[in-house]
């Protein structure tokens, strides 16, 4: 008994595959929350900054400055957790990097370029409030936005390449002997995947920031500062949401045509058939049957190709051998996450419609407490939506790390100590994550107690003449 137990322990702890996979998933899941803030917060800050300068709006300027201070913290945490990922590519997946680094790595070279630009200008912007000329300072923020956009596109290009590997020639031993960098970067999956993630960054960033101000408003802080903080951020999220649904639909159809096995896992399709239902929830059993859930007849087929409608044939999981498709458990994870992504995405869409309708017909944001309550949780929902979407694309690709070319188990490190690093990483990240939230909260409290903006806190130096607060548009 003890012998079996210790043997089992040995196997569990020695086999690096699950641990490496868990560590990569954990660090990516953590980092991906900071990505939207790095990509879209600068854009929102510049909106506030622009408004502040153009319309002499003091509250908007203060908002922009404080956002930039928060950004300093989230950007630093994002930068270092991103660095860990560059270490992990080698530490956890050395065989993957050794075999494919010359192709997979190329988008990262460009990403490095953009990240560099971002780091430089974010420093100038954050530290430049007091001594740079106002408009010059504003313009130093613009490269941050552009670098964020192109940087995230570059990173996603690398991930897209794992889904649609192209741009290389292999010799008879399977070694890469020729690389076409353009083809690697602009691989088949890249345009839609990059668009989907980029818009997600704006969507999540917008709702996440807005939810903080919605909470503040619910607690009775209905001043212009909170109003601006909410409206700028929520508008960004609300504009991004419908676009995201359109892009997501196109991407799903791309997966249908190019990664049929992933698509079968998403739609829970065990055997090839037409008139495939869209099963809400439910799960796949070991024997290949689907049970539970609410099937909507023919919808999955219809969505896959509206031109052929319910007659559209969807390839089943059983069209490839078991060792080339996700396991039953993975399939269920993919399907559940798909439902979560689509379900929460729809809720966020409805919330955006509510907001838009109010603006169109009443020329103001909704006054309902229920709207603010929903908006207050929209940030967390948006993060969950994004995480779920990312699980769909990653787990849906299993068992491949490079689709059709290399399996995850052949890519992993030979180091048996990965379980130790996994726990170390979890502990460290839990600490860093908690502290980040506490520090951000502490900053916001401190800003609030300094409500009567002291000179020291005024952007563009103490010499700036008093600017009257803008027109009282605030609600309530």
């Amino acid at each position: 008994m003890t012998a079996t137990l210790s043997a089992l322990t040995a196997i569990v702890f020695v086999n690096p595959v699950p641990w490496a996979r868990a560590q990569m998933a954990f660090t990516l899941a953590f980092h991906i929350i900071l990505v939207p803030l790095g990509v879209s917060w600068a854009f929102m800050t510049l909106i506030a900054n622009y408004r502040g300068l153009r319309h002499q709006d003091r509250a908007a300027l203060v908002l922009a400055q404080r956002w930039s201070k928060f950004m300093a913290v989230t950007f630093a945490v994002g930068a270092v957790t991103g660095t860990v990922l560059t270490f992990e590519f080698g530490l956890l997946w050395p065989r993957f990097m050794g075999q494919w680094g010359e192709a997979f790595g190329i988008p990262f070279a460009f990403e490095g370029l953009f990240f560099f630009t971002e780091a430089i200008f974010i420093a100038i912007y954050i530290f430049g409030w007091r001594r740079l000329k106002p408009w010059a300072h504003f313009w130093t923020g613009v490269p941050i936005v552009l670098a964020g956009i192109f940087g995230s596109i570059s990173v996603v290009a690398a991930n897209a390449w794992m889904n649609a590997p192209s741009g290389f020639v292999l010799d008879s031993d399977g070694r890469v002997i020729e690389v076409d960098p353009i083809q690697v970067i602009f691989n088949d999956s890249m345009p839609l995947q990059a668009a989907h993630m980029l818009i997600a960054a704006y969507l999540v960033g917008g709702f996440l920031v807005a939810s903080v101000y919605a909470t503040g408003m619910l607690r009775g802080r209905r001043d212009r500062y909170h109003y601006l903080g909410f409206v700028i951020a929520f508008s960004v999220g609300a504009v991004a949401t419908p676009i995201q649904i359109g892009v997501g639909d196109l991407l799903a159809r791309w997966v249908y045509s190019n990664q049929p096995v992933k698509f079968a896992a998403i739609e829970l399709v065990p055997t090839t058939s037409s008139d495939v239902p869209e099963t809400l929830l439910g799960h796949l059993n070991e024997d290949g049957t689907v049970s539970g859930g609410i099937p909507i007849p023919g919808l999955a087929s219809w969505l896959s190709d509206p031109s052929t409608g319910r007659a559209t044939v969807v390839q089943g999981l059983d069209t490839v051998p078991p060792d080339q498709r996700p396991t039953v458990r993975q399939t269920n994870i993919v399907h559940l996450c798909w439902d979560i992504m689509v379900g929460l995405g729809t809720l966020l869409f409805l919330l955006s419609v509510w907001y838009a309708v109010s603006w169109i017909f009443r020329r103001r944001m909704p006054r309902s407490k229920w709207f603010l309550r929903a908006a207050a949780v929209s940030g967390v929902l948006a993060v969950i939506t994004m995480e779920a979407g990312w699980v769909v694309t990653e787990v849906g690709r299993q068992p491949w790390i490079v689709y059709g070319h290399m399996k995850v188990e052949d890519a992993v490190t030979a180091n048996t100590g990965v379980w130790i690093t996994f726990f170390a990483v979890v502990v460290l990240y839990a600490l860093v994550g908690t502290t980040t939230i506490l520090v951000l909260r502490g900053m916001s409290r401190r800003f609030r107690t300094a409500e009567d903006f002291i000179d020291h806190d005024t952007p563009y130096g103490p010499s700036q003449p008093e600017v009257p607060a803008g027109a009282e548009e605030a609600i309530g």
Partner: protein
């Protein structure tokens, strides 16, 4: 073409050491600055000196990784497989350091500032030690070719690695002190003298480590030693002369010239390492040309380098010029500094 990429790689290492290294070194002085009262002023100088620039400096490390894995993927696999432990420690140390530094600036409560400061300072010493140990493991030929794992322990616990680690920490502290003398003139003139004394001490320390290092390398890393004493000898001599010159200027209180000479001293020893190791990426088992990725990849990397020259370098220069002119004074987080810092 692989030669060009190798040169780029070496340059990236030099720039990272000269800029990023000094940020780590500043952490060393933060660590040794004493209690909250005694250490407040030097810590203030340190914070203002590296605050706006450390993230940009840090990106050079990512550049090094990216060049390595795109252009020399097989060597990258060997390095990460063999040097798993120090690389992991370095990665975790980088998280701890960057996050703590950002947190420390963002809080006012002295207790938390101390805790974050301690985490920042300790990891600032740990990370360069690991980097140096990694360099030592590679330079002494302990990383095998072919995407294979070498000895997981001896590859980084060996005489050359210890030398590399200690030298990295000392050189980083030395560079940081020299820069801080210069920055302190603008921020807190009395602190210039404080850091000048430390710069002199660090210079002496680096010199002693360098002398000891000659014997270590002679016994433990013969290929590197032969290279350093033959084709890389001019660089070694240049480094020694500049180091001495910088020391003289520091003693005579001429920080501007000292800064330049200190940079040349550190840069030339790293270039010397590269020249001594040439043509090997992993000494005596894998040459740069044998490790090189296909031409298309190398071309892409060189394109990125050209773009970096056009986009990143001007931005980097702008950042440093603004910083040096004192136009990036602070994030202004302290809303009530005098009261709450107490």
């Amino acid at each position: 073409m692989s030669t060009a990429v190798a040169v780029v790689l070496l340059l990236a290492v030099v720039v990272y050491a000269v800029f990023g290294g000094a940020d780590f070194g500043a952490g060393f002085w933060d660590l040794t600055a004493g209690g909250p009262q005694r250490g407040e002023r030097p810590r203030d100088v340190i914070e203002h000196s590296i605050g706006p620039v450390w993230e940009a400096n840090h990106v050079w490390l990512i550049f090094i990784f990216v060049i390595l894995w795109t252009s020399f993927p097989e060597a990258y696999a060997s390095i990460t497989l063999t040097l798993f432990v120090p690389l992991t420690i370095a990665a975790l140390g980088i998280v701890l350091r960057g996050a703590s530094f950002a947190f420390r600036k963002a809080v006012v409560d002295m207790r938390y500032r101390r805790a974050f400061g301690a985490a920042f300072a300790v990891s600032s010493v740990l990370v360069p030690y690991c980097m140096g140990a990694i360099a030592g493991g590679i330079a002494s030929g302990r990383v095998p070719a072919g995407g294979q794992a070498g000895d997981p322990v001896q590859s980084w616990i060996n005489p050359t690695s210890v030398l590399g680690g200690v030298l990295a920490v000392a050189a980083a502290a030395y560079l940081a002190a020299v820069y801080l003398v210069w920055d302190a003139r603008r921020l807190d003139a009395e602190m210039a003298e404080y850091f000048r004394r430390r710069a002199v001490a660090a210079a002496a320390g680096v010199g002693v480590i360098g002398l000891v290092g000659i014997f270590v390398l002679a016994g433990d890393a013969s290929y590197l030693f032969d290279g350093l004493t033959s084709r890389a000898l001019p660089l070694v001599i240049l480094s020694a002369l500049c180091g001495l010159g910088a020391l003289v200027l520091l003693v005579r209180n001429a920080p501007r010239g000292a800064r330049l000479l200190a940079v040349i001293a550190v840069a030339s020893v790293i270039v010397g390492w590269g020249v001594a190791q040439w043509p090997y990426l992993l000494p005596e088992s894998l040459t740069f040309s044998a490790a090189a990725a296909p031409g298309g990849t190398q071309a892409a990397v060189l394109v990125v380098v050209l773009l970096a020259g056009a986009i990143v370098v001007p931005g980097f220069v702008l950042l440093f010029v603004l910083h040096q002119k004192g136009l990036l004074p602070e994030e202004g987080v302290e809303d009530r500094p005098a009261v709450e810092r107490g």
